[in-house]
């Protein structure tokens, strides 16, 4: 893994196990827990699952949604902390 700042619960191996529908429904077979993501959350998870770094994911978000990289990165960090609590 290239990026050491990704918190451990969000390791790509762990994320890979999650079943994600294209509408944002997430099922975690390890815990049986299910989730719903909003559109930015869905995009982030799909990129991270593919092993995209947090930095690059933030840059993609920024480009796609027309916000600054700083806004995208800080939101993504908060998202990963939140996500990490559930995995």
């Amino acid at each position: 893994m290239e990026d050491a700042t990704v918190s451990s619960p969000c390791r790509p191996e762990r994320l890979q196990k999650l079943a994600v529908s294209d509408t944002g429904f997430v099922f975690d077979p390890q815990t049986g827990q299910s989730f719903t993501l909003n559109s930015t959350g869905l995009m982030s998870l799909n990129l991270l699952k593919k092993g995209t770094t947090v930095e690059n994911t933030a840059a993609c978000l920024a480009r796609e949604y027309g916000v600054s990289v700083e806004v995208a990165s800080s939101s993504l960090e908060a998202f990963l902390v939140q996500f990490g609590r559930y995995l």
Partner: protein, 482 residues
């Protein structure tokens, strides 16, 4: 959703866990039973198109059914019963007249309410006049018109006596009592206290006056009372007091008024169980009252004397579920803590009751998307303007309409006129037709009481009313420049 630069609209990434057992609430779509596309039989779209948003929608049928159901239950068990419609609960004229057509008297608590009842055509003899602030002038009128005067304090009693002396007649009065039932917070600021002996003293003063006659006892033990036994205790205490008075003084009580306080089908904040489980049936209250009354008046039957008339002044239980508020989403946001939030065009300005109820709120059309915890704000520039602190809803968008249930009690009277016009109040008639029963306010309503002194007729001294520039010599001396 795309913004003006053709990019998708930004929202911080967010994940919403589904709760076990509530999966249907958190699916992609809100549960079908959470959608109400008609209100009292009329399509929501039609109502909003015709009357605007927000709009209060009232059901004539529901009001009539509510009153009939409670009255019938009392009449079956006791017979001699009067319902006094508590004007303060909702004094929209049409609503009062529905109540009066059902036989309910007017229960009023102020000069304004008294005058309103009379304006509607309610005869004085069918008005119960409560309240701690009755001026001498309104008491004179009410006494002349034969209203039932419920006395709150000694000063009022003296005023009534002076009016009786001036009229040269004997004025019948009812004393408002307060006491501890052990179930509710005693409302000891209203009326005369039994435990301290004040009530007995007041009754004695009435008995001693040749100008007054004590004919009734009244008490109101509180509102939204969840324990029917509180009423049994209330009636027991009132009957005991009545018997004591009748035993010692030359008094015959003709009516016992138990006030209001029956709950409506609303969810009180802080009560864990939903209303269907936490609120006893009205029949439980009726049984509690009438059983205690039969027991407490046994001494009358034994001596072959007539039973007192029973008066109840139920407000919210009669009208709360007969009105809804339709309100539209004007904006949406994601709060810093991740929660979804919506701004509505109707808030605490129209829903005073949102301070103490978690009103049932339903969607009026199907909305796709993940259901999430959402905060519903009103349109006021005030932090306290929250309609619901937490409700699970799909992603709402501008223009979506929500139906707030059970808003008929205390909102059309306690709403506040703060920065917004108050909206139309509509009645769905029994035949399904609808009409406005209180017109939306406009600028003329809002400014009609304002008076502008002559030197304050124009806002800017350098611009005349006609828009022309004025030459200002000094304040108060203006010359128009042509």
């Amino acid at each position: 959703m795309q913004n003006m630069f053709n990019k998708a609209i930004w929202e911080p990434p967010f994940i919403q866990p589904h709760k076990i057992g509530e999966i249907n609430k958190f699916g992609r779509r809100a549960a079908k039973d959470n959608i109400c596309d008609t209100v009292f039989g009329v399509p929501v779209k039609l109502l909003v198109e015709k009357y605007g948003s927000p709009v209060f929608v009232t059901s004539e049928k529901q009001i009539r059914e509510n009153v009939r159901r409670v009255k019938r239950a009392f009449e079956r068990r006791y017979g001699n019963v009067i319902h006094g419609w508590s004007y303060k609960t909702n004094y929209t004229s049409a609503i009062c007249n529905i109540m009066h057509q059902e036989g309910s008297w007017a229960e009023v608590v102020s000069e304004f309410e008294y005058e309103k009842a009379r304006l509607l055509g309610v005869p004085g003899e069918r008005i119960i006049f409560n309240g701690p602030n009755k001026s001498k002038a309104i008491l004179e009128r009410a006494i002349a018109e034969g209203a039932r005067i419920h006395v709150d304090h000694l000063e009022e009693l003296h005023t009534i006596e002076s009016i009786a002396i001036a009229r040269g007649s004997v004025v019948p009065v009812t004393l408002r009592l307060n006491f501890d039932t052990g179930y509710t917070e005693p409302w000891s600021r209203f009326g005369f206290n039994i435990e301290s002996g004040q009530a007995y003293l007041a009754a004695k003063l009435v008995a001693l006056s040749p100008h007054l006659k004590l004919t009734g006892l009244h008490s109101h033990i509180g509102t939204f009372i969840l324990e029917p036994r509180a009423y049994a205790e209330q009636v027991r205490i009132m009957c005991k007091f009545m018997r004591e008075l009748e035993g010692n003084e030359n008094i015959q009580i003709e009516s016992l008024d138990i006030g209001g306080g029956f709950p409506s089908n609303n969810a009180l904040k802080g009560v864990y169980l939903p209303p269907e489980q936490s609120i006893p049936a009205i029949s439980d209250y009726v049984n509690a009252v009438t059983s205690a009354l039969m027991e407490g008046t046994q001494y009358r039957r034994e001596s072959n004397r007539p039973l007192p008339q029973l008066i109840f002044e139920s407000g919210r239980a009669m009208v709360d579920d007969a009105q809804m508020l339709l309100t539209s989403v004007v904006g949406t946001k994601r709060l810093a803590d991740g929660r979804r939030a919506c701004v509505l065009d109707g808030g605490a300005n129209l829903l005073f009751t949102s301070y103490w109820y978690n009103h049932l709120i339903k969607l009026t059309s199907e909305i796709d998307g993940p259901v999430e915890e959402t905060v519903l704000y009103g349109p006021l520039c005030m932090n306290i303007d929250v309609v619901r602190h937490s409700i699970h809803l799909p992603p709402l968008k501008h223009g979506d309409i929500l139906a707030v249930h059970c808003v008929g009690a205390y909102n059309n009277t306690q709403w506040m006129q703060f920065i917004e016009y108050r909206p139309n109040v509509v009645l769905v008639h029994e035949d399904g037709e609808s009409s406005i029963i209180r017109k939306a306010e406009d600028l003329s309503v809002m400014t009609q009481q304002d008076c502008l002194p002559s030197h304050l007729q124009i806002p800017f001294l350098d611009i005349g009313r006609n828009g022309r520039i004025n030459k200002i010599a000094s304040v108060g001396q203006i010359e128009a420049v042509s």
